[in-house]
């Protein structure tokens, strides 16, 4: 026994970790293989029988997983972009160009004490961040990311989006009310008032678009905007786009409408009593909301996954790797070597001072860049959803940039200005847009009917 403990003590930390992990992995792999061998057919049959449910689970899991890097990218973007606008450099110490900086607050929030105030309503207090985050993920379920890449194509997708998205108010109120702190309660009420007020112009501004589109399915709306960028709805509903964007800013609690937690004025509004990962979830949800709002704006007004221009020629690469047979193996094995040598040769020959191994490293890196670029190009040309995803994410993150840009520029409005703007300007403008659109549709239909 003493010999065992002695050996254990002599192991380094990675050694101890490996000592535990390797048997565990072996056990899990063996268990997985045995399960698949014994019950594989049954499991496959069950998946096939309940394909829609499985698809939902996979979609939710994928969304939750994909929002983590998205939120980190947005946090990094915010740090860096606002810094550059303030004539600063911004984070540049953690990781290359400070890219890992957004992980630092995440880790900090993770290791902090998860504190519940005395006499707080513990259950509601715990569930409030979950509700806020869950609404974000659930509303993203109907967003079409690319052709065929969406959670569900509901025929009431837009309505579902607003209904579920509006539920985040419940989470905010829960957090404010259960904290046992009058300032939290006031902050919660304040954010509820703001979000409910802006929900109305937000929803009304889209009604005109729904009249034009004739559907509430986001997938169909995107498909209607295919072709040149002039067919995007932003050119047919510019006022709606403006109202939608402003109201969405308020919905996502972004500057200049970030009174929900005006970090430089009040403590944190409804989140005053939150700490640790629960607080982190509120913030996570906020950054996810920024992306979701940008994505929805892209889908509704900026053509979603459609490219802005239609190329006059059609490139089709018909590469079937399976048809090459054994030659493919030689190709995979030889092309990297030959490519590296070919790209290293000019570097080596150009200057006599260059060492052969430096030239080889340079050749290898250049070959990787070239091969990666070619693979990317091939994927873009060959697969619709790669191109669509790229366009969609590009547009969405451009809008995220605009949000960050606004935060770097505009001062925060007062609460009475916020409310007055929503009720006195945005709401009448949205109604005007709705009536004008409806009238235009009626007139055009009557004219067409008269012609026919």
């Amino acid at each position: 026994m003493t010999a065992l403990t002695k050996t254990w003590d002599q192991l380094t930390l990675p050694g101890k970790a490996l000592f535990i992990l390797i048997p565990l992995l072996a056990f899990l792999t063996a268990g997985g293989v045995i399960t698949i061998v014994l019950f594989g057919g049954l499991i496959w049959q069950a998946i096939l029988d309940h394909l829609e449910i499985v698809r939902l689970f996979v979609a939710v899991l994928a969304l939750v997983l994909i929002f983590i890097p998205f939120a980190f990218v947005i946090i990094y973007m915010e740090l860096k972009v606002i810094a550059r606008m303030n004539l600063r450099i911004g984070p540049d110490r953690v990781g290359p160009w400070g890219t890992l900086m957004s992980l630092v607050p995440g880790l900090k929030v993770l290791v902090k004490e998860d504190f519940t105030p005395t006499r707080a309503d513990a259950v509601v207090f715990t569930w409030a961040p979950v509700v806020v985050f869950a609404t974000s993920v659930m509303s993203a379920l109907v967003l079409p990311f690319a052709p065929g890449l969406y959670g569900r194509d509901l025929n009431i997708g837009l309505l579902y989006f607003f209904a579920v998205g509006g539920m985040s108010v419940v989470g905010l109120l829960m957090g404010g009310w259960s904290s046992f702190n009058k300032y939290s309660l006031l902050g919660g009420l304040r954010s509820a008032a703001q979000i409910v007020s802006y929900e109305i112009p937000l929803t009304l501004s889209v009604v005109g678009l729904i009249i034009l589109a004739g559907t509430m399915s986001l997938n169909t709306i995107v498909q209607q905007q295919a072709g040149w960028f002039t067919s995007w709805y932003v050119f047919r509903q510019p006022l709606a786009f403006l109202i939608f964007f402003i109201a969405a800013t308020a919905e996502a609690n972004r500057t200049p409408f970030d009174l929900t937690e005006a970090d430089s004025e009040i403590v944190a509004g409804f989140a005053t009593e939150y700490s640790g990962m629960r607080f982190g979830f509120f913030f996570f949800a906020e950054y996810v909301n920024v992306f979701i709002v940008s994505a929805l704006t892209t889908v509704l007004f900026l053509g979603g996954w459609n490219a802005p221009i239609v190329l006059p020629w059609h490139i089709a690469l018909d590469i079937n790797p399976g048809s090459y047979g054994l030659a493919l193996l030689f190709f995979v094995a030889l092309v990297p070597v030959i490519g590296t040598l070919l790209l290293a040769a000019p570097v080596y020959l150009m200057r006599s001072k260059t060492r052969w191994w430096v030239a080889l490293i340079i050749g290898f890196v250049v070959f990787n860049v070239v091969a990666g670029g070619l693979t990317f190009l091939w994927a873009y040309i060959s697969f619709d959803f790669v191109a669509g995803l790229l366009w969609f994410l590009g547009k969405a993150f451009t809008l995220v940039f605009v949000f960050v840009w606004m935060r770097g520029t505009l001062p925060r409005v007062r609460i009475d200005q916020l409310m007055g703007f929503a009720w006195k300007w945005l709401l009448p403008a949205a109604l005007l847009n709705l009536f004008v659109t409806a009238l235009a549709v009626l007139v055009v239909n009557a004219w067409r009917g008269g012609l026919a």
């Binding site: 606008m85 606004m406 520029t409 505009l410």
Partner: protein, 224 residues
């Protein structure tokens, strides 16, 4: 300009976008060091000589060279000289006006100097008025002053410096450049010469020189 709703937002957004692409002036300190003069030490320090007295001559060159005007001197020591202390001039309330004068590059009125050079400087006001207190006409002012007093008294140059706003040192330089301007009256100059001539060693030296050269000092003699 007509009011367009939202034009302010557009202006602000364009400004921040411009700022976004502007190069940043940040120096990455531990990796890069700023390029400063070799003599730069980063702090003000007055050095003492071996007797424990300040080496500072209160010439104010440091104060005039300081780009952010953080150096000032004030106070008097027991010998009536400047007792030097340094720091922001606002901390020395008793010399605040003088600090302002000095930072403007002007000579500070010095009450301790007045008894040593008593002179009626009221006539100088007319001269300066005639030349419009214009420092660019300094030569004419100095010539007129010399006409008044026969030479250029230090007190007069100080007053000219104060009232024209020109620094004392350039005025002094102007006065020394031109041969017809002088700092002593001819009588004083003669007195100085006489005093120099009375040096006992000179006669002995000249006699020795004469003996060694075998002749008297001629018209080209340089010693007179």
């Amino acid at each position: 300009m007509s009011f367009v709703p939202g034009i302010g937002i557009v202006k602000g957004m364009s400004l921040t976008l411009k700022r976004f692409f502007e190069p940043k002036a940040t120096i990455m300190y531990p990796e890069e060091r700023p390029d400063v003069a070799a003599k730069f030490r980063g702090r003000l320090q007055l050095l003492l000589d071996e007797n424990g007295a300040l080496k500072c001559e209160t010439c104010f060159q440091c104060a005039q060279a300081c780009p952010i005007e953080c150096i000032d001197m004030g106070g008097m020591d027991t010998k009536g000289r400047f007792h030097v202390h340094w720091g922001p001039p606002e901390t020395y309330g008793e010399r605040r006006e003088e600090s302002a004068l000095r930072r403007a590059g002007r000579t500070v009125p010095d009450p301790n100097f007045a008894p040593f050079d008593e002179r009626d400087l009221s006539a100088l006001d007319d001269v300066l008025e005639r030349f419009d207190h214009d420092p660019k006409r300094m030569l004419e002012i100095l010539e007129a002053t010399q006409e008044l007093y026969g030479h250029l008294p230090v007190a007069a140059i100080k007053k000219i410096s104060q009232l024209t706003g020109a620094w004392y040192a350039p005025i002094y330089g102007t006065a020394t450049y031109y041969g017809h301007l002088r700092f002593e009256s001819p009588e004083a100059k003669a007195q100085i010469k006489a005093m120099a001539a009375r040096r006992p060693s000179e006669d002995w030296y000249l006699a020795g020189l004469q003996a060694s050269l075998g002749g008297g000092p001629g018209a080209s003699g340089a010693s007179s």
